[in-house]
């Protein structure tokens, strides 16, 4: 558990925005031209992180290497399905890695919303962009700032829940905390991120409140 708190290393906001642009451009170039240099740049930054994610979630190094390669090949072959208006490149990659891990462990695919579902609740095109913002970059920018502002103890629990262990119980054990404390830090972090996204103009979608409000 040596690098348990790696999210502590703060990066300047500009560096983080530059990285998002570079990686998003890489995915576009792979999807459009099968650009090998773009893939190499993407791979050199993310392959080791995908492997860290898989090993952190309890897979052996051998299986992590194998799955990491499968995940990066999905990036190579499916980059044209990346939609920069919906998510940052890192988010797209994270969901692929998460889903591939679930497929592997469970033997059946992760269950997700199907966009061609006739019951899909869509009001207009804008609602389908990330959290209803003008563009994914704006959302990613605000998200980055919100994550930077989280108290260390919340950021640590978020890092662990996304990238380490299989349950809140694991995290509680590692940190020697009651499980209720782990859960409440997660809730607080989620609320903090959500309200910092809500701060500014375009968050009408999140502000909408009907009968029973989302638990703020």
């Amino acid at each position: 558990m040596t690098n348990m708190a790696t999210t502590r290393q703060d990066k300047p906001t500009e560096a983080s925005a530059a990285l998002r642009k570079r990686m998003g451009d890489n995915l576009k170039a792979i999807g459009r031209d099968r650009d090998e240099n773009a893939f190499a740049d993407f791979y050199n930054y993310y392959a080791g992180r995908v492997k860290s994610f898989l090993m952190g979630k309890g897979m052996t190094e051998e299986i992590s290497d194998e799955l990491m390669q499968e995940i990066m090949l999905i990036v190579w072959r499916r980059a044209e399905s990346y939609d920069p208006s919906k998510a940052a490149a890192s988010t797209w990659l994270f969901t692929i890695a998460r889903n591939r891990r679930i497929d592997y462990l469970r033997g059946n695919s992760r269950i997700e919303v199907e966009l061609e579902d006739e019951m899909l609740d869509v009001e207009n095109d804008e609602s389908e962009t990330q959290a209803g913002y003008v563009d994914a970059e704006q959302a990613a920018e605000r998200l980055h700032r919100a994550l930077e502002k989280l108290p260390q103890e919340q950021r640590q629990v978020m890092h662990l829940s996304y990238f380490r262990g299989q349950s809140h119980g694991d995290i509680a054990e590692w940190l020697d905390l009651p499980i209720g404390t782990v859960k409440s830090r997660i809730r607080l972090a989620m609320q903090a991120v959500r309200s910092s996204l809500k701060d500014e103009d375009k968050a009408a979608l999140l502000n909408e409140s009907s009968g029973s409000p989302i638990n703020d």
Partner: protein
């Protein structure tokens, strides 16, 4: 669709981190289909995963990008090489119907062999019928549809852990409020409830629990092994 009961932050977070069971994922995906508000929150939770992903400490890797590409191009003719295809074939294999089931979000529709009223419902108590979705997941808790006649009253009960209920048809009322089509009841062990069906048509609910529920009434205790909620 106007939805008034939503997923909790905790469930949204657990869905994003990939730590829910397949039945729980199905319930979450059904609600996300009909609730763009929660869908936006789920996208935010994925975005948190992406944002944190950039800050992960990388682990050394053994294969270069170019080696990986050239190896994959060499194997491109092999049908097994496209694992993404493999994954989608696996998910097609469990599809129970040839087309979408009307009035049912696809994540649930894919598990049904027939339209709702034509399922082989099993009568478990007066006014209460049950359709089990997957015995394979039984040890992690129940995964089933309940078909409740108008006016039916369930025994008052609470749960050891989390229970998710997605309203497929009709409506019911309990101490928390009124639940209608598309609503989700996202309950933890602290809540005791006694749903009463208040719709004119039968109420159909999709339910996943993580562990067997605790009943407080004697009748509940007798019913529990049969109803399995």
């Amino acid at each position: 669709m106007s939805v008034s009961h939503h997923l909790t932050d905790e469930t949204i977070h657990d869905y994003a981190t990939g730590s829910l069971s397949m039945p729980m994922e199905t319930l979450v995906a059904c609600h996300l289909t009909v609730c763009r508000q929660c869908r936006a929150r789920a996208q935010m939770a994925d975005g948190v995963g992406g944002g944190l992903f950039d800050r992960l400490e990388p682990t050394p890797i053994k294969v270069s990008a170019m080696d990986l590409i050239s190896r994959s191009d060499a194997a491109a003719d092999s049908p097994a090489s496209d694992i993404r295809n493999g994954a989608s074939q696996a998910s097609t294999a469990k599809v129970g119907t040839t087309g979408p089931v009307k009035g049912v979000p696809r994540p649930l529709g894919r598990l049904l062999p027939a339209p709702l009223e034509q399922l082989r419902w099993r009568r478990v108590a007066p006014g209460i019928k049950q359709y089990k979705l997957d015995d394979q997941h039984r040890r992690h808790g129940a995964f089933q549809l309940l078909h409740l006649a108008p006016g039916a009253v369930l025994s008052e009960h609470s749960h050891h852990d989390r229970e998710l209920t997605y309203l497929v048809q009709g409506s019911y009322r309990d101490s928390i409020g009124r639940f209608q089509v598309g609503d989700i009841a996202d309950l933890d062990g602290s809540i005791e409830h006694q749903p009463v069906v208040d719709s004119e048509e039968p109420c159909i609910a999709l339910i996943a629990t993580q562990s067997p529920v605790r009943y407080s009434g004697v009748i509940g205790k007798i019913m529990q092994p049969f109803v399995g909620i």
